[in-house]
Amino acid sequence: MATPTLAKARAVQDIPAVVRGFEQLGYITDPSLATVVFLTLKLGKPLLLEGHAGLGKTEVAKVLAAFLGTRLIRLQCYEGLDVNSAVYEWNYQKQLLAIKIEENTGQSIIEKEKHIFGREFLMERPLLQAVQEVEISPVLLVDEVDRADEAFEAFLLELLSDFQITVPELGTIKAKHPPLVVLTSNRSRELSDALKRRCLYHWIEYPTLEKERKIVAARLPGIADELERQVVGFVQSVRGLNLIKSPGVAETLDWAQALMALGKTRLDSAVVEETLGCLSKSMDDTARIKAAGIEKMIAEVG
């Protein structure tokens, strides 16, 4: 009864094992996140991750899949996402062609119909794929679920409760190996209470200085110590400036990479100014950072 992934998930001994496993894959967790991931594995409940953009929400699902050695199925939500693009769609072109080809075969209408509504004409979208895995439970990432509309959220809720999907022409498909579900949200709108209740919740904060330094060191092994320390310190103080869009870890990594490409081993105000576009994504924010005094901020970082 235990499926390979779930068996593996259950075999994850303790929380430190999660921390280690993720770290080997280049993802630095903190005890809180590791605990939640551990609970997700053990209880099989969906995990809802919220937090600002660029803090590695999506990455959690990717690393989780790699950690368990299973497939990652990703559903990117957007406004107007409907069942046709999330669950399944018939391949109409192929169906029409098939009708044409079978025109003179003398099959009865019922036979023909049965044929063209067969599996080979079904285009499986992420959610259907997720309940169809035959070998091993996949990780299903429902990314930016807040962008989809309420109707879709209701559908998702139904799916999460029993992992089965009904295709009228084929019947009900029940997941042999229920997927591990990770949902992410950027909080652009409130999710329904029912959905939130069903999930384990984790709010991803901006990382602490130590954690962020570990992340940068892990992701960019070639970086000079001095530069890494300064970059992280600088970004941390930029986050204190109350910008419209504070830089996330993704921005820190981008910036560090840019500086490395420029052959820098330490910050100076000229290069910070030139590469500020990595950190600030709007004119107002750039102005605010400049007003705070780049020179001064570098000096504070030391």
Binding site: P31, S32, T35, D149, I244
Partner: protein, 380 residues
């Protein structure tokens, strides 16, 4: 509450769940069971781990997530002053204390915001149909303080319904697309003449774009409290809404209203705006709008002004600005709370010069009148 000294671990966790609920977390009984399950899974040896596990189960929003820390510490050890087990407390009250009293007077009327927050829980509180209807019709300025919370809940509920209706209507009308035969056949050539790839014609419907200017001068005080909420709900359900406050100057509050919770939004607002309860220069404000935000005006924009029309500026300027805006937008809608008063005539200088440039002139003194706006918000 019994002291959790000699109670078993399970009981202690259940007690904690109850404590958390009493202090504002929305976790239900079902979550209590989840909490037990989680605690058993991770074990209770490590305090931090137990905390993280319970937090994942009991919280479902950032506010709760942040609040949890305090609750956990208060319950399992470091007792903190001021947290009574059964008492419902306003979270983060201290953050507000820095605001000026005046801002609070306008934005944070007592009890209203808390009730709005937990509407999902308290929404079930039964309010008789008559009271419901009466509040819907009641003039905002005549509401007794005790009824503000009720009114706010009704207003949010009804406005939300309205917005949902509007978005649903857009979806249904999308089905009216017709097959475009000419293009279908054109595209079918590559398939040997069979119309495999159907092409559709039909206007792509877009949600109405809204620009809202809300007057927060002194004379609007009794109304601005509710009108801000009105703007908040519209902003939440319409994709393209830009909202500004004005009195003698213009403030862009779009970003502040984007906050996910009404209370957060109001808090952000009270930090941002100067000029609450001051005088009014409508013409000046409109001019400022056109100079800095003119890009927001387009043929598919509804321009909504919420003001009583008491203007201390130059009437000519107001008329000129309004006509300039009217030329660039689809409709100019002026909602005036005073229109709800019996016998009101729009004779103030500002209002009378503005009238010729307005497409819709309607009242905005109660919930019912705000709901009337639905007709104009449908895009055609």
């Amino acid at each position: 509450m019994a002291e959790p000294e000699f109670v078993g671990l399970n009981d202690a966790i259940l007690l904690f769940c109850r404590f958390a609920r009493a202090n504002g977390l929305s976790a239900s009984v079902k979550e209590s069971i989840g909490a037990l399950e989680a605690a058993m899974t991770v074990g209770v040896q490590d305090r931090q781990v137990l905390k993280a596990a319970l937090r994942a189960v009991l919280c479902s929003s950032r506010q709760e997530w942040e609040r949890f820390e305090e609750l956990f510490d208060a319950f399992w050890g470091f007792k903190q002053a001021g947290l009574e087990p059964a008492q419902r407390k306003r979270p983060n009250k201290s953050a507000l204390d820095t605001q000026t009293q005046q801002d609070k007077a306008v934005l944070m009327l007592p009890t209203s915001s808390d009730t709005a927050l937990s509407e999902s829980e308290q929404g079930k509180a039964v309010l008789g149909a008559t009271a419901h209807e009466r509040l819907k019709q009641a003039d905002f300025s005549q509401i007794a303080e005790g009824e503000i919370a009720d009114l706010e809940r009704i207003a949010l509920h009804l406005l939300r319904q309205m917005s949902m209706r509007l978005s649903r209507r857009l979806k249904v009308s999308r089905l009216h697309n017709q097959v475009d035969l000419r293009r279908t056949i054109r595209h079918s050539i590559s398939h040997g003449g069979d119309p495999i790839d159907l092409r559709f014609r039909g206007k792509k419907l877009q949600q109405q774009k809204l620009v809202i200017l809300l007057d927060v001068s002194g004379s609007m005080n009794p109304y601005s409290l509710f009108l801000v909420r009105f703007a908040y709900v519209l902003q939440k359900y319409f994709k393209h809404v830009d909202t500004f406050l004005f009195s003698t100057q213009l403030t862009d509050i779009t970003a502040a209203l984007r906050k996910r919770q009404l209370r957060e939004a109001l808090q952000a607002l009270s930090q941002e705006t100067a000029g609450w309860s001051g005088g009014t220069m409508i013409g000046e404000s409109l001019r400022e709008f056109r100079t800095h935000y003119g890009r927001l005006l387009s043929r598919d924009t509804l321009f909504i002004i919420l003001s009583d029309g008491w203007d201390t500026g130059e009437p000519k300027k107001l008329a000129a600005e309004l006509s300039a805006i009217k030329r660039r937008t689809k409709k100019v809608i002026w909602l005036n709370p005073l229109l709800g008063l019996e016998g009101y005539q729009p004779l103030t200088r500002g209002m009378s010069v503005a009238l010729p440039h307005i497409d819709v002139f309607a009242p905005a003194h109660n919930v019912a009148s705000l709901l009337e706006l639905e007709r104009h918000l449908q895009s055609r």
